[in-house]
């Protein structure tokens, strides 16, 4: 039986307060325990470990822990619980291959994921409910029979909302910006002393909102507002927009500071884990996660500042072996424990997708739906 308490202890601690030497041993012990749980409860995972000559009963480091590539979650549904304990299934946006990743959650994992997600978001945007302007359609925030990964991401952020407005319209399965409504919402927001939250998928935010507002010469003064965005960058390649340009264009359009534009990174295979950019523009691992960067050819860990494929380790999922996932994203570790924002932890940047990776991410898929 897994010791749920050991996971609860770690996810109840301050999100970014421990230095590496204090965090590493605590996290490793819980990860080792969770690894043994998955080994015992998930036969395909056990076979994978056996095949790689990995024995979870022996001491191992983060670097030695086997990783599952995200593609594996497309092929089979891995579970470490009996199927009658399944509470929710999360599917990623269908990719260009048409095969989404699927992960199965029991109630405990689902609650744990929400808690971790909420704690990271509150740490970044503050423990205060604000008005949300969601750059999506109205049905994305209401109750619907089917919940897409995109809707699920939007809804998971609403716990920080005091009011919610949307400004996209769906007509014949195509999305269109309700420009007049957006302008009215932004004008109203200028008089909101609390500062609103504007949330959208990266491609929509830039290509259909910021760019359009800039072209029409519309600028707003929204000090205290937060611009949150999430999703793939691949669709933005044709606009030649870098993260820096997106930030500066947002600042110019909405009258906010660089630190108020927050780019969230996360992936379905470890849902609940979210990595916002901090005020200094890098992402931090919380106390309940670690990142390892691997050489794309040898898959061996590389040194800090060297680019490679990102692997994430976290013990929060006990219903499926998503505790060590090799993504298709390229990035690098920037530093450890010395970010000027004051948060501890490993800081990293995501710089792109590996060459053979398909277009994916809710934001990328959403771009295809636009008129």
């Amino acid at each position: 039986m897994i010791d749920e308490k050991s996971i609860d202890i770690i996810i109840n601690q301050s999100v970014y307060d421990l230095k590496e030497n204090e965090k590493k041993q605590k996290l490793l012990e819980v990860v080792q325990c969770v690894t043994r749980h998955h080994y015992e409860q998930c036969y395909p995972y056990k076979r994978l470990c056996d095949k790689r000559g990995f024995n979870p009963q022996k001491y191992f480091s983060f670097e030695e822990l086997p990783y599952l590539p995200t593609s594996l979650f497309k092929d089979i549904q891995l579970l470490s619980i009996p199927s009658d304990k399944l509470f929710r299934e999360i599917k990623s946006s269908a990719t260009t291959t048409g095969q989404p990743s699927r992960v199965g959650l029991d109630k405990v994992t689902s609650r744990r994921q929400s808690k971790c997600f909420n704690r990271v978001v509150i740490n970044r945007i503050g423990n205060e409910r604000r008005k949300f302007i969601v750059l999506d359609k109205a049905s994305s925030v209401g109750r619907t029979e089917k919940v897409s990964a995109r809707d699920s991401t939007i809804r998971s952020l609403l716990f920080c909302a005091s009011e919610v407005d949307t400004c996209l319209i769906e007509e014949e399965e195509k999305l269109r910006l309700d420009y007049n409504k957006l302008i009215k919402l932004l004008k109203d927001a200028e008089g909101n002393p609390q500062g609103v939250v504007i949330f959208g998928f990266t491609f929509i935010l830039y290509a259909h909102v910021v760019k359009r507002l800039m072209e029409s010469g519309n600028k707003f003064k929204l000090p205290g507002a937060k611009i949150l965005h999430i999703g793939g960058w691949k669709k933005l390649e044709s606009f030649k927009v870098s993260p820096e340009k997106l930030i500066s264009d947002c600042c110019e359009t909405f009258g906010v500071f660089n630190k108020d534009v927050v780019d969230f990174y996360g992936f379905t295979e470890q849902s609940g884990m979210i990595y916002p950019t901090c005020e200094e523009g890098v992402r931090h691992t919380p106390i309940w996660a670690e990142v390892i960067v691997r050489d794309p050819l040898t898959l061996k860990p590389v040194l800090n500042k060297q680019k490679g494929i990102l692997q994430f380790i976290t013990p929060i999922q006990t219903s499926y072996p998503g505790h060590s996932v090799l993504t298709e994203d390229i990035g690098f570790v920037n530093s450890v424990d010395d970010c000027n924002c004051g948060r501890k932890g490993t800081t990293f940047k995501v710089v792109g997708r590996s060459l053979n990776a398909e277009v994916r991410g809710c934001g990328d898929i959403m771009g295809d739906l636009f008129e």
Binding site: I122, E128, R129, V141, R155, C160, A161, S162
Partner: protein, 80 residues
């Protein structure tokens, strides 16, 4: 407490478009179809207005049943 319960039930009835008689201690998103993330936000705003309180995000996510809501209001509303 009875007064608080009555007012909370009325708020839930208004937001979720149900009868107050349908509300009991165990009422939760699992028992009320209309209780989704958006109507939860609306309910919190109505509670804030009605009881002149501020509910922060951390508190808001823990208000998962009618009983939890009433208990929170009881603990946080200043009488007078």
């Amino acid at each position: 407490m009875e007064g608080i319960k009555q007012r909370c039930a009325e708020i839930m009835a208004k937001v979720f478009k149900i009868e107050t008689s349908q509300v009991n201690d165990e009422t939760s998103p699992d028992s009320i179809t209309q209780w989704d993330s958006l109507s939860h936000v609306q309910m919190l705003s109505e509670l804030e207005k009605s009881f002149s309180v501020k509910i922060n995000p951390e508190e808001g996510i823990n208000l998962e049943t009618f009983k939890m809501i009433c208990d929170w209001v009881e603990d946080n509303v200043k009488e007078g």
